[in-house]
Amino acid sequence: MAPLNALTPDQLAQADAVVAEHRGTPGSLITVLRLCQDIAGYFPPELVERIARGMNLPVAKVYGVVSFYSLFSLEPKGRHQIRVCTGTACYVRGVREVLDRVERRFGVKAGGTCGSGRFSLEPVRCLGACGLAPVMVVDRDVHGGVTPDSACEILEGYE
């Protein structure tokens, strides 16, 4: 596996293709960034520069947009993204305990990535699925009514 913070030639080629498709379309930067994050997982400086040069936009402007939106990450992410809802409903249904257990079990801090690169853990605001509280989203899978035990069991299924 390539080091976590270096992009593969294949990833760069895919990013270039996204840029080439949208170059010259006004207002397409956010779209390009979203697609590039799907490809690379995050935005190392080399990717920001590559997108900026490719779109003929100032590097600082692209970086400004990337760093402004919480949707975009400047840090390398794990292979799987865990989003744990900390909205009011989830909170009162015990999401704090779920978070604590996941942090301890997988050695990952809220807002960070575990050393093995397996998981990134991100507490988020209300996901709007309060009926399922507490809610944990792994990649694109929504898991409702999780407990500390069931959350860890679910996560064991993601390598």
Binding site: E49, A60, G64
Partner: protein
Amino acid sequence: MELTINDMTCAFTPGQTILDVAGAHGIFIPTLCRLPNCTPTGACRICVVEVWGARTLVASCAAPAAEGMIVHTDSDRVLRARRTILRLMLDSGNHDCLLCPAAGDCALQSLAFRYGVGTGAFERPRPRYRPETGNPFIVRDFSKCILCGRCVQACNEIQVNEAIDYGYRGAAAKIVAGCDTALAQSDCVFCGECLQVCPVGALSAHDARKKPRLCETRPVRSTCAYCGVGCQVDLHVAGGRIAHVRGAEDGHNEGSLCVKGRFALDFASHPDRLKTPLVRRDGELVPASWDEALDLAAGRLAAIRDAHGPGSLGFLSSARCTNEENYLFQKLARRMGTNNVDHCARLCHAPTVTGLMQAFGSGAATNPMDDIANAEVILVTGSNTTETHPVFAARVKRAVRAGAKLVVVDPRAVGLTRHATLWLRQAPGTDIAWINGLMHVILREGLENREFIAARTEGFEALRDSLAAFTPEHVQELTGIPAAQLEEAARLYARAGAATILYCMGITQHACGTDTVQALASLAMLCGHVGRPGAGVNPLRGQNNVQGACDMGALPNVLPGYRRVDDDAARRHAEGLWGAELSGKPGLTATEMIATDRVRAMFVMGENPMVSDADVGHVRGRLEKLDFLVVQDIFLTETARLADVVLPAASAAEKDGTFTNTDRRVQRVRAAVPCPGQALPDWRILNMLSERLGFGPGPESPEAAMAEIALAAPIYGGVDYRRIESEGLVWPCPDRNHPGTPILHRESFPRGKGRFVPVHAQPPAETPDADYPLTLGTGRVLEHYHTGTMTRRSEGLNRIVPECFVEMNPSDAARLGVVQGQRVRVASRRGEITVRAQVTGRVAEGHVFIPFHFAEAAANVLTNPALDPLARIPEFKACAVRVTPE
């Protein structure tokens, strides 16, 4: 239309903001984020006012004035809001005026004083970001930043360098460069526009604590001593030294400067400055008194003239010196009986002077720089504008932001290509082919301006016939420019309501330079793109006063004001003025003076042919063989080291006079600091020398010299120091009541009708072959200036660009086994230098580029002295070389 502010009725015009109207009526509204000439952002809120009927307070900088509005700028509600804003700002970071470099010149400090607000109202957060101190120009202290965004606007909307922007959000917001890197690692070019507009102490000079603060200095208005843009500067002086340089906001440059003008005027106080005259004794240059040096210089020059005739003397004047000094210098040469007087325009725009003179009858730029805003299409060719004329490049980039179309034709990926609608990349030395190709397409598609051609020009039929062969397909073969791109460029240029051409050394520094200039003039006339706002042919003059040195007649064939030496009436006029008989025979050009051994003695003022001329190995041999060489300069240059007498002169910061910029704008230069040691202003030295040569006393001041120039050169007839006290005058200005002539050739050309001169494509004098397979072009970089005499003594610039380099294309580098940063030998038929390789796509395959600023690795060891037959300029932009890894 009218509104009332503080119960006063104020007239306004639609489009004005409340702030504009208040300002126009002398009503104070504080601002922090407002930056003139930029879109109001309303970021700081300090300019809020109360508008009757509005729900909230209104940011007056962004609110348009409306009929019948009732505005209060100082109500209790407004004052409460302003105080709260100030308290929040003052406690947002380390606003400690005792330790702040901006104290005394800080908008936040002065508003805190005005509104009686101090710190401590809120808990002050710990600084989130560490200051950036790593570069030699600007310190960024984020703990003092109020996020007003003026620097962001200055960088993106004024200079359009696009290096910084807002990053992150909320309390973490920060002005970031690139990917939140140090400025030096970003696209920042250190123009310092941000530093000048920062209203607080967040941006300060790197050496701010080692010198007086701005408020402790006295400003002296002058003209920048670097390029031909002629930016107006305020030299802030304390204790006989220049402490700060700021762009004059009321000058034509509107406050902008580049890295050289803002940060590199420190060469004036460099310890290497010449402080006493030197004479050669037993082979060594040793200090001497002024009397000794001047007696020797005058005695030897007179003796050599008497023994070998006036033609044995050669005079090289200086595009660095003032108009007055150039005038006195050529007057000295001509009164000694020779027209052998020239200067380094020979090495830059001599083809412009000859080429445009033949086409239009005047060899200068047709439109002023601010007129670029009127152009719909801008054609830039052979000009690395962002590096050689940075403040003008900013105008070009602003015009593009405002919607103008930019066509760049250049073999190198120069900075402007990023802003271009269309970039045509021609093979070096094929300019006539693509220009003829453009004209071919324009005629083929019937896009020419027939009315203009009929009324204003002659020679059209011959031109039309000469273009038949230049089909886009043929041009593609010659130049490598795809036919479709050529056609698109032709349509863009020809269909524009107003289109302007900007060109520079890439066009002129060829053995066919004059022809190429004529081709550009023909292109403009073919479409009628000359003599109107936004339409013209504009050579960008390289040096601070190269335009003026030409105007003053520091040329072998013309007297002051471009009156030909072989025109009897003109000569008689000058003879009457100068009280001497003048030669009617045009003299030798600079390149010829160096080439011929008929010249036995030379007087060189402020020039450095040992670095600037083609094939410097040959130049050295010739200068060493001279019977006598006098050099007048501010440093012991490579040329001065060979001299018999060295005369220490004043830099631009130490004397009065005028420079004429590339607009033809005559602007004042003012002494701000004293000369070092015994050095004297050049005009004084020339007076002393003339007196010793028996020509009597010269003008007692630069102002008196200008009065004489006004008599000698009709185009300067109305120029007078009293008239140019605050703003320059643009020649032709024939009399005291004439307002000057920003746009030339409006009704007619000086020669009557504009002349189409058919020209034919010709390859460079030396083309690549098996032994020397690459084409070398020379040029400049942003951070250095000409032969480096000034900039290489500026500490900051040399930290950024310390040494020479060769740019080469990755494919050539790979083939030769050269890697980035490796030292390589570059050789031509004339010599060899060793430099570091910069592997970059900026140059095309088969092409290499070397800047010529560096004496120890002088690009001109390599260049070809093949001359343009008319303008006698060497072919600096194309010679054959080979590169081998060291």
